[in-house]
Symmetry: C2
Subunit: 291 residues, 2 copies
């Protein structure tokens, strides 16, 4: 097995994903000043999670103020999207030619879309909380921190040769899917998440699996009554059960981003353990041809 | 391999799930008359999908009119749920003692929750479209129809010993998860669904899987540009690719329910092929003890 504390393990990272992870906080486009409210935020492709998170404080569409369209790259356009926002100033973020704000595709772009939105809507305090949480995570997750003190390295070893199932509290909208995404794009790994009403799912979908298929690693986020019950049911039904304690952060949004960032680091280490390139430039190039 | 056209294959259905499937249309509680609007609909546990579908024409919470709470059984209660709806008449559906409308737990209860909601809010025309679509599906999916003319039986054979991945157009909210649920609870099978921004996911999560793990069966719903691209990418990355043409039905809601019903029949046949009980009474009993 490859050693995450040995330098040669990192040679497979030809595109420098470690640097992008390390320098994530503060990266991405910065708005010149706040845009006029009310706000609408709609997200396609890579922009989907930032848009979902923004539903806490913005509508999907607005007919006055500012309509943000997080184009997100490779998803297929939706007809009528712009018509729905007529009357508002339209600000498109993405990487196609016509955009107002350029934002290049990346497995980590969720942070950059969200950062722009928070700054553009006068919520720099929210962003500061997120950034603080991410920097705290980074301090303990970066490659220089040895396995014995590095939760992301440790988690990567636990997920190796297993299929992770992310069990995420409802108060983190979209986080489970965001984790699925980052584990795929950086870690080149398949993972899944149970549907709502997960308890019945655990009892039925996993029962038959007992003697077949890949071993499943249940990754439980948060710490509430629901997690306790899930844990009790899952214990005898999965190969291993991993609890991820809540990040030290103020507010749900900062906690969600910190969780996501931790799994992004984990995905990075997982790619290294599999000996595959953690970057996904080639995959994106493929997509550019197909769409 | 078991024969879905042979009577002895059906002996494993001790609880008569085939009858529940056959008699689904028109089943469940019927409201005495319409309730006063405006409407709020919130759903927990098994009630989640009906509540999600209702977002098309109802808010989540209302302070006047009628607040429907689809309790859905085994999910864990949410504090503050009822406080949020103060001012409205509260109508609880579910199986606990205090409910206004009794609705027993079942893998098929999504239909019954939705049926009640549509009748209670004066949308019997919508329900008629759904019922018509379901009856049309039933005519070709029931056990008496032989394999050569029965798409659900055929699909069940295709999914056998494979892990289905449901790729569902965005216009069907919650359908992918509803399919995951029904395949688990009736078919005792694990399935998954890609996160939003699925194209990058296909290219990265499935690449590494090529030589390991369970064979994946991609099940593609709908027929649009997005499906064409997904198909092109998936062709070389999954074990088999199955296209499910849109049901003959009027409107997105009826189409969504028809798709779901078709997969419920498929899950039933899949359980028979695995030789396991398609009912999940035992699983639910388990849950009753744990929660």
């Amino acid at each position: 097995m490859r050693d995450l504390d040995a330098q040669e393990t990192y040679l497979v990272d030809r595109m420098g994903v470690a640097f992008e992870l390390r320098d994530l906080v503060g990266s991405g486009p910065t708005p010149q000043g706040p845009y006029a409210g009310p706000y609408g935020v709609v997200g396609l492709g890579e922009g989907w999670w930032a848009a979902r998170l923004a539903q806490d404080w913005a509508a999907e569409f607005t007919h006055s103020g500012t309509q943000f369209v997080l184009e997100g790259g490779y998803d297929l356009g939706e007809g009528g999207l712009y018509a729905a926002a007529s009357g508002a100033e339209i600000v498109r973020l993405g990487w196609r030619e016509h955009v107002e704000v350029e934002l290049l595709p990346s497995p980590l772009s969720s942070y950059r879309y969200l950062r722009f939105l928070l700054l553009a809507t006068g919520q720099s305090d929210q962003l500061a909380r997120i950034d603080g949480a991410l920097l705290a995570e980074r301090d303990r997750l970066r490659p220089e921190v040895g396995l014995d003190k590095n939760p992301a390295k440790f988690l990567a070893y636990s997920l190796l040769e297993r299929t992770p199932m992310f069990v995420v509290p409802r108060r983190y909208p979209g986080l489970a899917e965001a984790l699925q995404q980052v584990l795929a794009r950086i870690g080149k790994s398949l993972s899944f998440t149970p549907p709502p009403s997960a308890l019945e799912f655990f009892l039925t979908a996993l029962e038959a699996r007992h003697e077949q298929g890949d071993p499943i690693a249940a990754v439980l986020l948060g710490d509430d009554e629901r997690k306790r019950v899930a844990q009790e049911i899952l214990e005898s039904r999965v190969d291993t059960l991993i609890e991820l304690p809540e990040p030290e952060a103020e507010g749900t949004l900062a906690k969600a981003l910190a969780y996501w960032y931790r799994l992004a680091w984990t995905a990075y280490y997982l790619a290294l353990l599999y000996g595959v390139e953690p970057g996904d430039w080639e995959a994106l190039e493929h997509l550019r041809q197909a769409t």
